[in-house]
């Protein structure tokens, strides 16, 4: 939705306000099912999870219902656990960097494409991987990256490598697969942002002697920075929270937070208090980043309104 359309509705709504103010209960009536469902089955479980994160784990027995910070201390002081956090953030950073590098040319091309039907097809093709099950896409990457898979066969045939590369069940393979899985999000967020930068600005730069690439770098890129930041945060948040791709493509080679939490919840040694504490660490990181993203988008909106 465009900001200006929203503004317009608000202004129209204000004129309409008298009629609506007489029925202040109506919006609440309309929202009540959603509100009730989320309060009971979203906030409720998260609150119980928070309570559990302060319980004490008793090996081999039931947990002790108390209020201790043991789980958080265990997570934030133990080098192994911090290593898991580091792995997770590192994977998120790599995937985000790759998706910025690959997302920009695609989004730019889509934004500047004149042929509408080609554009529509390319946009629809973007939706196909986005809407295909992440299990299927992870399985697809397992096939692609296998020792005898197409990637290795192609590289061998081209004589770029002599031995098949170990890609499946490695951190590198996980980063490759996850970058592909999350790339459509980056493109979908960036395209309208680049579209909002008038092409005249680029043409002006070019008429002053800048090449295409130079015009993009010096004119377009600075203007889309807030949008790029927002897209990066979305990809980063999805990357550090992703489970299926690291589990299937990474196997046991990459222990990231979601896999570690899963082990605590449903693995061999079940430790719900510790799993709960880690879930909250992950959730807090995500919420902080989302708040930052909202700020960036807000700034982007203001920039455009000032312009």
């Amino acid at each position: 939705m465009s900001a200006s359309a929203a503004e317009l509705t608000i202004r129209r709504g204000a004129r309409d306000g008298d009629a609506l103010r007489r029925r202040p209960f109506e919006p609440w009536l309309l929202m009540s099912p959603t509100l009730a469902l989320l309060l009971v089955f979203l906030i409720g479980p998260l609150l119980i999870l928070l309570v559990y994160s302060f319980y004490r784990y008793v090996p081999g027995g039931a947990m002790e219902e108390t209020f201790v910070l043991d789980n958080y201390r265990k997570f934030l002081t133990d080098p192994f656990n911090l290593g898991v956090l580091w792995n997770t953030l590192k994977l998120g950073a790599i995937v985000t960097a790759v998706d910025v590098a690959l997302g920009l040319p695609v989004a730019y091309s889509l934004a500047r494409m004149r042929n509408r039907s080609v554009r529509a097809v390319l946009y629809a093709l973007l939706l196909v991987p986005l809407m295909s099950s992440v299990v299927v896409r992870s399985y697809g990457w397992m096939v692609l990256l296998a020792p005898q898979g197409p990637v290795n066969e192609a590289l061998l045939a081209l004589r770029i490598i002599e031995q098949p590369l170990a890609l499946l069940f490695t951190p590198a393979g996980t980063a490759i697969a996850l970058s592909a899985v999350l790339l459509p999000f980056m493109v979908i967020i960036l395209t309208p942002v680049i579209q909002s930068v008038e092409e005249d600005l680029e043409l002006a730069a070019q008429s002053l002697g800048a090449g295409n690439f130079r015009a993009f770098l010096d004119v377009v890129l600075p203007l889309v920075r807030p949008g790029l930041g927002a897209g990066s945060i979305v990809v980063f948040v999805l990357a550090i929270g992703s489970f299926a791709t690291p589990a299937l493509v990474g196997g046991t080679s990459v222990l990231v937070m979601p896999l570690y939490i899963y082990q605590q919840a449903l693995g061999q040694v079940i430790n719900w208090p510790f799993g709960s504490a880690m879930s909250f660490v992950l959730l807090v990181i995500v919420l902080l980043l989302v708040a930052l993203q909202a700020k960036l988008l807000e700034r982007n909106r203001r920039w455009r309104e000032d312009a």
């Binding site: 959603t34 973007l126 196909v128 589990a247």
Partner: protein, 259 residues
């Protein structure tokens, strides 16, 4: 000048990078080999027959479809009502509620999964279809709310006023004017929601069991221990279902204009 085709070539390759994992399952699903080798050899429908003959996979498929349809119906009604409230009214706390309603997208699926496992654990809902249904409705609601809201924002409220000034009651206006104009958004939101439910893995992992398993969960557990092309055949079916829903929606109501 070689520069002119540099960008299109890069875009082509990057599209390949995104689509390759989806496309690769098609040739693999027809291979005659027991395990996955490239290039695939021979041609057989054996792997399709394999899962069609499998009670477990067919039960999971049926459960996923039933769950997806039910969750979508519920989420579409609830989400449309919420979107109307968020866009067409002014009330205190509006911005906060708007953020709250789309928050299930933000919470990592895994965190939601473990929270619901602990929450439902001691209740009668533990391990039931109802718990799974509640979880799916929560996960897909934000998609309906977002898409329907985007549609509503684009509607001119003066059309409603015109109808009212001609004597229609507010309910009549909603039923005969607003709702028909909202149909593209509602259909697009519902289709998007269905696909999200049909493909959902993580939250479901925590709420399913041997007797109650969705298709993505079943596929996930199968891949963990097997590598025969049965999964490729199943993947083809899953991809075709999701892609058909999305592309048909895109063609007839234009999904991408609401995203």
């Amino acid at each position: 000048m070689p520069r002119r085709w540099l960008l299109p070539a890069a875009v082509f390759l990057i599209y390949g990078f995104m689509l390759a994992p989806v496309l690769i399952v098609f040739p693999i699903s027809f291979t005659e080999q027991q395990y996955v080798v490239f290039p695939p050899t021979g041609f057989t429908f054996r792997w399709y027959k394999n899962f069609l003959d499998s009670d477990e996979f067919m039960r999971a498929m049926y459960l996923s479809l039933r769950l997806g349809v039910l969750a979508t119906l519920i989420a579409t009604v609830m989400g449309t009502a919420a979107a109307v409230a968020l866009v067409r009214y002014r009330f205190p706390g509006q911005q906060a509620l708007k953020a709250f309603f789309v928050s299930p997208i933000i919470v990592p699926g895994l965190v939601l999964g473990i929270a619901m496992l602990i929450f439902f654990g001691p209740t009668l809902l533990h391990g039931t279809f109802a718990a799974l249904l509640i979880a799916h409705v929560i996960v897909i609601l934000p998609y309906v709310i977002r898409v329907v809201s985007a549609n509503l924002v684009g509607l001119d409220i003066r059309i409603d006023h015109a109808a009212q000034s001609l004597g229609a009651t507010r309910l009549e206006v909603f039923r005969t004017v607003t709702l028909p104009l909202l149909r593209p958004g509602i259909v697009a939101g519902a289709m998007l929601a269905f696909v999200q439910s049909f493909d959902e893995l993580i939250v479901s992992l925590f709420l399913t069991g041997p007797q109650l398993s969705t298709l993505p969960v079943k596929i996930y557990h199968y891949i963990e221990f097997n590598s025969d092309p049965t999964i490729a055949a199943l993947s083809v079916v899953v991809v075709v279902i999701s892609a058909t829903v999305i592309l048909v929606t895109e063609r007839f109501v234009g999904l991408s204009r609401f995203l």
